[in-house]
């Protein structure tokens, strides 16, 4: 069940990254405003809370992942590039991973048009939620990861 735990870590990281990027969107706006009016005495303001959360939690998760791979991987140089939720220790796990990847690919085909349609609503919410595209775009990997994890759990049983 390590794959499930790792999958949920990735989801948390994805949400934190989305939060950090949403905040960074305001930074971009500030920078653009600064270049329009350089008499202003600051370049941008930023809420660093999401960045601290992302790098602290992300650093911890990355450290655990690195340590686990170093101890358990036969080929560390290859394993370091693979997501933690890929468990391929034997033929059965390879089969489960392959099925989960298939399900995630299919989910992408359905999620993509839905997400594109959701982006069409951006002009309606651009004033209140300027970072709306970042949230909507984050739904794509979120959908795929969730599908992967559901398929994994179903087949692992």
């Amino acid at each position: 069940m390590k794959a499930l735990r790792n999958g949920f870590s990735i989801i948390i990281m994805l949400i934190l990254f989305g939060w950090a990027m949403s905040v960074f969107y305001y930074v971009s706006i500030d920078i653009v405003e600064f270049f329009k009016d350089t008499s202003r005495d600051y370049l941008f303001e930023v809420n660093i809370m999401p960045f601290i959360a992302f790098f602290t939690i992300g650093g911890f998760v990355a450290f655990l992942s690195f340590r686990h791979k170093k101890r358990n991987s036969k080929e560390f140089s290859k394993a370091i590039w693979l997501p933690d939720e890929f468990a391929e220790n034997d033929e059965r796990e390879q089969l489960i991973t392959a099925r989960a990847c298939r399900a995630a690919y299919i989910s992408m085909l359905y999620a993509f048009p839905v997400i594109t349609v959701l982006l069409l609503f951006y002009p309606f919410v651009s004033e209140t939620i300027p970072y709306y595209p970042i949230i909507v775009f984050s739904l794509l990997p979120l959908t795929q990861i969730l599908t992967y994890l559901i398929s994994w759990q179903k087949n692992y049983g």
Binding site: E91, R92, E93, Y156
Partner: protein, 69 residues
């Protein structure tokens, strides 16, 4: 029609734990659990490794459900 197996019975006869058999055939213990429950049909390679451990032909370990005596 399903493929069944006698892995659990033969493992007990050879006094092997699931972990020991898993190590011998180079898979995870969960794969042996799944095999014994009938939830997983092994590859030819794994079936041959198991057959070698139990010193039996493959068809005496893995068989069609219909052939059950």
């Amino acid at each position: 029609m399903e493929i069944k197996n006698r892995v659990k019975e033969l493992r007990a006869r050879h006094n092997l734990t699931q972990g020991e058999l898993a190590d011998d055939v180079d898979v995870t213990r969960q794969t042996i659990v799944a095999l014994e429950k009938g939830n997983y049909v092994p590859s030819l390679m794994l079936a041959m490794k198991i057959a070698r451990i139990f010193k039996l032909p493959i068809e005496e370990i893995f068989y069609w459900e219909d052939d059950e005596v």
